[in-house]
């Protein structure tokens, strides 16, 4: 028992170096997802029907196929068309494109959650369609979206372990190295799992503080 604890303690420093790569992959992928979703959402809300199929198809495509297959397509498939990406870039890109689909869905659902009465009130005051969304709908929709976005971030952090398969030296990949050298898979993967858990808990706790700061005063009491 004591031996196990010592072993885990001894491999933690090596694993922790993988955390920075895991965070890098997650943060960049989330940012790509956020940027793309921020493009897709207005198209879905404002564009005429002739264009609204575009974001819809994007979402269906990326939600309807496995992330691992998307990753393989980008890393192993694209080189045949002359697009050769290193493993880290390919991993970030695949996760980001995938996350964009989920984030776009989160935004769409949040906007749908704004009651019709808010639109009516804003319009009755003479606001333009753009003003209605900018001042009334988006600020409220963002607050509704926040818990789901945090959830998406945490999910993304865990899914980032998939990029170990194409050789990115993040947390899971470093675990694989250690197993290959020590043959102690149980202890190594327990340590890896614990580090993911600490990461996820840190982020979701941090997010709770932000949510509290942004919450609409009086909101709980009214429900």
């Amino acid at each position: 028992m004591l031996d196990t604890l010592f072993f885990i303690a001894s491999i933690i420093p090596f694993l922790i170096q993988g955390i920075s790569v895991t965070l890098q992959v997650t943060l960049f992928a989330f940012a790509i997802g956020l940027a793309l979703a921020s493009l897709l959402t207005p198209i879905r809300v404002f564009a005429p029907v002739s264009l609204s199929w575009l974001p819809r198809t994007y979402v269906e495509l990326f939600r309807g196929t496995p992330l691992l297959v998307q990753l393989f397509l980008i890393y192993f498939g694209l080189p045949s068309k002359g697009i050769k990406l290193d493993a880290l870039t390919a991993g970030i890109l695949a996760l980001g494109l995938n996350s964009a689909a989920y984030q776009a869905e989160i935004f769409r659902a949040s906007i749908k959650g704004i009651p019709e009465s808010q639109f009516l009130a804003a319009e009755s005051l003479g606001m333009s369609r753009l003003q209605v969304y900018r001042y009334v709908v988006f600020p409220q929709a963002f607050r509704i979206a926040l818990p789901a976005l945090v959830n998406e971030f945490v999910t993304l952090m865990k899914e980032s372990s998939l990029v170990a398969i194409i050789g990115v030296a993040e947390l899971t990949r470093r675990g694989e190295y250690l197993v290959a050298y020590t043959f102690r898979a149980l202890e190594v993967y327990i340590a890896v799992a614990m580090l993911y858990l600490v990461l996820c808990l840190t982020f979701s706790q941090g997010a709770k503080i932000i949510e509290k700061k942004l919450k609409i005063p009086g909101y709980e009491r009214s429900r």
């Binding site: 009465s117 808010q118 009516l120 009130a121 009755s124 606001m127 001042y135 607050r143 009086g218 909101y219």
Partner: protein, 244 residues
């Protein structure tokens, strides 16, 4: 006196369901007109059509000489000079009371931030809510929220104030404070079109009353005459039920 509002043969529908079936009426400048009638009779839809929050399918509306229903009319400019008060207040929950009133002044009336806030404070004083300007709507009672909503509508200096059952969502003990504010505003001479079930208030404030049923105006007269009518059996039944 000149007509401020003229509604001619107005028809409106929600999908297959026809809600307004040829409504005609006029409202003179400074006049207070109350609309009563059973639920589903089209009162609220009529109010919303006047600022095209609901698009009519047929008919014409003129407000202050402008044809509201014309596709050439910039409906936003019409809305900017009318005030609309909703049954459920519809304040913006993520903004303070002050911001709720100052925002439209800033972005629609193009006032500076300072002027908008100054005006908002004056309007809040009018409805007795100036002590709550830094609160958020959901921290207030229904009556307080509705008073803020009235201040928001009045801040736009409307030539016509439209009120859609302003006290119907309130507990009986909170209605008084809202009705008091409305009585005070009515004395200022602003033109008002009010959908309400408050008959005492209607009789006190309104110059004229319209009785609506099934998308049409069935009767129009002074409130006293309609409320205490003995001839029109439909009216007698309606007002007796309201009292019960």
């Amino acid at each position: 006196m000149k007509n401020l509002l003229l509604v001619e043969d107005l028809w409106a529908s929600y999908g297959e369901h026809m809600v307004l079936k040829g409504v005609n009426f006029a409202l003179k400048k400074g006049e207070k007109v109350v609309i009563v009638g059973p639920s589903g009779s089209g009162k609220s839809t009529l109010l919303k059509c006047i600022v095209r929050l609901v698009e009519p399918i047929k008919g014409k509306i003129f407000l202050d000489g402008v044809e509201v229903t014309s596709p050439k009319t910039d409906i936003r400019s019409v809305r900017a000079k009318t005030g609309f008060v909703f049954q459920n207040y519809n304040l913006f929950p993520h903004m303070t009371v002050l911001e709720n009133i100052a925002l439209p002044l800033r972005i629609v009336k193009k006032l500076t931030k300072k002027d908008a806030e100054e005006k908002a404070k004056i309007m809040l004083k009018t409805v007795g809510m100036d002590a709550y300007m830094d609160k958020y709507p959901l921290q207030l009672s229904g009556g307080q929220q509705q008073r803020v909503a009235i201040a928001r509508a009045l801040a736009m200096d409307p030539i016509l104030l439209l009120l859609d059952e302003p006290t119907s969502a309130l507990d009986p003990e909170l209605r008084g404070e809202v009705l008091d504010v409305l009585r005070r505003i009515a004395r200022e001479g602003i033109s008002m079109l009010i959908v309400t079930h408050e008959m005492d208030f209607a009789e006190e404030v309104a110059d004229r009353m319209l009785f609506m049923e099934d998308g049409k105006i069935l009767a129009a007269d002074s409130p006293a005459k309609l409320i205490h009518s003995l001839e029109n059996e439909r009216l007698v039944r309606f007002f007796r039920k309201l009292k019960a």
